[in-house]
């Protein structure tokens, strides 16, 4: 017995590609697709894997990261799956990859126009925060009826003095569709704005794909008096490379509970150790949150 190139049969891959074309044509719009079962469990990146499998050619070089790291078990497993079923080359060097599949992070190193970032998405629906039912959220998107989302954020501020969403911070794509950036930290939201690369989002269990094409404006939700703020790590530096401008993982070092900090993006950390002058390239505050009303 043998399996097709990249596991899925050609018809299934074509169906995914058709959905992706529509997604690119309607930035931020969630396109339903027929999600197939994979030999990897739902919730472990099946949306991303289906996109990657649908895009892969024999010449592609694939990088897979999970929480920023190439060597995390889930990333290794997905990479192993792609190697086994498609025989493609893999890499951990961000610049070498043509397709990068990721969970919960956007690489620190700016991606080029010839690179595609495939994000694994558990919750494609940003409005799920305020509305549980799919029928209703579809209507809200169709009518750009996002008032309840702003009210929820406003209430959050009233209760807590700030917007408390730590990740999956919603953004408006191309001044039209409200979109969930997948569970990336706020820190990564600005990278979505006017990027050179194509972002593709895949939610296998929820059966949705969506996209942000290159050079698309992406504005994280905010208010005039409560601008969008990303996480910061004041006074912290990566213990390995010394970076003070990257997203850091917190580690418990010993029984006393002492903490340490390291770059979440392991590939970039390695580059910085070799050459401390390497820039992230995304720019500082590349997309300040757009105040309510200003995005129209």
């Amino acid at each position: 017995m043998s399996y097709s190139f990249a596991f899925l049969d050609e018809q299934s891959k074509r169906a995914v590609r058709r959905a992706l074309l529509k997604a690119v044509a309607l930035p931020g719009y969630q396109v339903p697709f027929v999600s197939r079962e994979l030999p990897i469990s739902y919730g472990w990146g099946t949306g991303g894997i289906q996109i990657t499998c649908a895009l892969l050619g024999r010449e592609d070089v694939v990088k897979v990261i999970d929480q920023g790291a190439d060597d995390s078990v889930n990333a290794v497993n997905i990479k192993r799956f792609l190697q086994r079923t498609a025989g493609v080359a893999t890499t951990s060097v961000t610049a070498e990859a043509t397709i990068i599949q990721t969970r919960h992070r956007i690489p620190e190193e700016r991606l080029r126009a010839d690179q595609i970032l495939v994000l694994q998405v558990p919750y494609p629906e940003p409005l799920r925060l305020v509305e549980a039912r799919e029928t209703e959220t579809r209507r809200m998107h169709a009518e750009a009826d996002y008032g309840r989302m702003y009210v929820a954020l406003y209430e959050d501020i009233v209760h807590h003095g700030e917007i408390t969403l730590p990740w999956q911070y919603p953004a408006v794509v191309n001044s039209r569709y409200l979109m969930s950036p997948s569970p990336i930290p706020r820190f990564d939201n600005p990278k979505l704005h006017l990027a050179d690369c194509l972002f593709l989002f895949g939610a296998g269990r929820e059966k949705r794909v969506y996209a942000i094409p290159p050079h698309t404006p992406v504005a994280s939700l905010a208010f005039e008096d409560y601008p969008f703020r990303a996480e910061a790590f004041p006074g912290r530096r990566c213990e390995r490379c010394g970076s003070g401008d990257t997203y850091l993982d917190e580690l418990i070092l010993d029984e006393s509970g002492r903490r340490g900090y390291q770059c979440s993006d392991t590939a970039f950390c390695l580059r910085r150790r070799q050459d401390p002058s390497v820039a992230r390239g995304w720019g500082e505050a590349s997309a300040p949150g757009t105040p309510r009303g200003a995005e129209a």
Partner: protein, 366 residues
């Protein structure tokens, strides 16, 4: 063979049982040995022990054999057997903090004191059908798995990840243990149930139902987005008190799964304190991680500040995850309902006669 009322029912039942026994042993091959089920269907055995609410692997395996692999039915068999057992005493609380770990992971921190141990898991396997198993020989016993443990003989069990967060004040201290805990198999449950009763109900709940409700909570009907602070699988000593001795005496050990999930929303009882996380707790007989995680999510969901979703409503959850009850009631619709249905028929016909007297023939068929 008809399903006919009602006389001769005893014969019908006996014949059906005989037939069932023949179905169970069809194929003319050697009988499946209970020991084989114990060895090679260990996860089915564990599920049946949990839902059967009885830690007895051999009986669970027997139940699986008897039920031809219907795990709900097997759990039912074990539950029924459980009803025949006296409760001799309550053991002292299981010393789970001294578990001999065969698996321990944390999704919250990359590095934790004591380390992570993947252990026996399918999490990172690829679900490709292994066609070689079609031809796997029956001879030659495979070697037993090595006794790998994170804390081997004499070594201390690492502290829980949650301990570190507690020290920092980011988690509340655990509520005091109910002593003695409520036993819902001995005390009639009433809502609202205390937490010990809720945990017991969850520990023996039907896995599919728990999965559905826990999933609803993490998907949007509710707001539990958990972080697995720690998931442990390992062996725990079971102790009893012997009246003549001061010390508890260890009588054996059981394999258990334990999950501690961190949620960022505060608890009802936590209002007014500085912001902190809350914890959901899950526990299962044997090795069953899905079950332990679902239990932890539901434990946390049912302590929500306000009930806005089904998974937060303890009445909704606890009444419906009770699989033995649920399947019993569902199956009961196959019982004859001639009498009540007749009453319904009569009522319906009467209503029709009132609504549209002209359209209805005067003599309603009996």
């Amino acid at each position: 063979m008809g399903y006919v009322a009602v006389r001769g029912g005893e014969d019908a039942i006996r014949n059906s049982e005989t037939l069932l026994a023949l179905y169970r042993r069809r194929g003319g091959r050697a009988s499946l040995q209970v020991q084989q089920i114990l060895d090679q269907m260990r996860l089915a055995v564990d599920r049946v022990m949990a839902e059967g609410s009885l830690y007895e692997p051999t009986l669970a395996a027997l139940a699986i054999k008897q039920a031809e692999g219907d795990l709900a039915e097997a759990a039912f068999l074990v539950r029924a057997y459980r009803s025949t057992l006296p409760r001799l005493q309550g053991t002292p609380m299981l010393p789970v903090e001294r578990m001999r770990l065969i698996r321990r992971i944390s999704a919250a921190f990359k590095d934790i004191p004591g380390g992570q141990l993947l252990g026996p898991t399918r999490d990172y396997t690829q679900r490709l059908l292994d066609f070689s198993l079609l031809e796997e020989g029956t001879k030659g016993p495979a070697p037993d798995p090595p006794r790998v443990s994170l804390n081997g003989d004499g070594q201390e069990t690492p502290e829980r990840v949650s301990t570190y967060l507690r020290r920092e004040g980011l988690l509340p201290e655990p509520p005091p243990a109910a002593e003695p805990p409520v036993d819902i198999t001995r005390d009639a449950a009433a809502f609202p149930m205390p937490r010990s009763a809720r945990l017991q109900a969850l520990a023996r709940g039907e896995e599919g139902g728990m999965l559905a409700l826990a999933y609803s909570s993490m998907r949007g009907f509710g707001s539990v987005h958990p972080t697995v602070a720690e998931l442990r699988v390992g062996y725990v000593a079971v102790q009893v008190r012997v009246p003549e001795l001061d010390l508890p005496v260890t009588v054996g050990e059981i394999l258990v799964t334990e999950a501690e999930l961190i949620c960022r929303d505060e608890l009802q009882e936590d209002a007014g304190t500085p912001a902190r996380f809350s914890l959901g707790y899950g526990f299962a007989f044997g090795h069953n991680e899905r079950r332990a995680i679902c239990m932890a999510i539901l434990d946390r969901a049912m302590r929500a500040e306000r009930v806005t979703a089904p998974a937060q409503d303890q009445e909704f959850v606890l009444q419906h995850i009770e699989g033995i009850e649920a399947q019993g009631f569902t199956n009961h619709w196959k019982l004859p309902h001639y009498v009540d249905f007749q009453a319904e028929l009569a009522q319906l016909r009467s209503r029709r006669a009132v609504e549209r007297p002209a359209a209805e023939p005067a003599g309603v068929p009996a």
